[in-house]
Homo-oligomer: 123 residues x 2
DNA sequence: TTAACTGCAAACCCTTTGCACGGTG
DNA sequence: CACCGTGCAAAGGGTTTGCAGTTAA
């Protein structure tokens, strides 16, 4: 895979500068802010290629479009700010998931989403 | 709102018998299993009317269609079985969400999804 | 009767795909 | 030349909506 096309560099730059997971639309808009342009199909195709190569990871969210972030962060969760709408990374995990499931269940994985106001948006 | 149409009775019956949150498609299929039929638009329209009246609640899931469940359960979470694909209710919550967020963040709410095998599907 | 509900088909949004063109080695 | 990557337009899947006909009170 060639990362060194104008479009893929722009996509990765936008993700790096934002420093938080972005949706395809946010990436598309972000590239636009640089005065560059990328076709939305290219955004989608690049994102799935980058996920396949494990350079990025898809963050699936309940009821809204996925965000994409750089992989290699280890176990973490996400915070969704209801004012600025950004999705931010939460590094801690204080969920004792095994104690939550009824007997007989096997826990393989979990996702946790926290909603509220981020530090930039809280009064 | 009139709950006493053939279609809405069927939708609510299917939800009640299933005893776990269902997607619009699962409801549609469930009604079909009774030898009855409901148009998919009617399923969607009935579900949103029932959510608006707070008879049902929408369970938004990451990366897949919402499920619908009876409201009034209080705070709870969901388990998604990777074998039978059912979404099941988890009544406990052992997540200390407030301790997870960085200083300055305000926590309003959270969603937790556990993935694995339910008791009927585990070996 | 009349207000609400339903079926059908079309529209919608987000995402994926087919195809022909473009850039690079 | 051979290959991927790209843009465009069309197609998909899930969900919503407009409209005309139907049903419940």
């Amino acid at each position: 895979m060639n990362l060194n096309t104008r479009q893929r560099r722009a996509i990765l730059d936008v993700l790096e500068i934002a420093d938080h997971p972005l949706s395809p639309q946010e990436i598309y808009d972000g590239v636009g802010h640089y005065g560059e342009s990328v076709n939305m199909s290219t955004v989608y195709r690049s994102l799935s290629a980058l996920v396949k190569r494990e350079i990025l990871e898809e963050v699936k969210l309940p009821g809204e479009p996925s965000r994409y972030e750089f992989s290699g962060k280890g176990h973490h969760h996400h915070f969704r700010c209801r004012k600025c709408n950004r999705v931010l990374v939460i590094e801690k995990c204080a969920a004792d998931v095994n104690s939550m499931v009824p007997p007989g269940y096997i826990v393989e994985d979990h996702d946790l989403f926290i909603y509220g106001l981020c530090s930039e948006c809280s009064p």
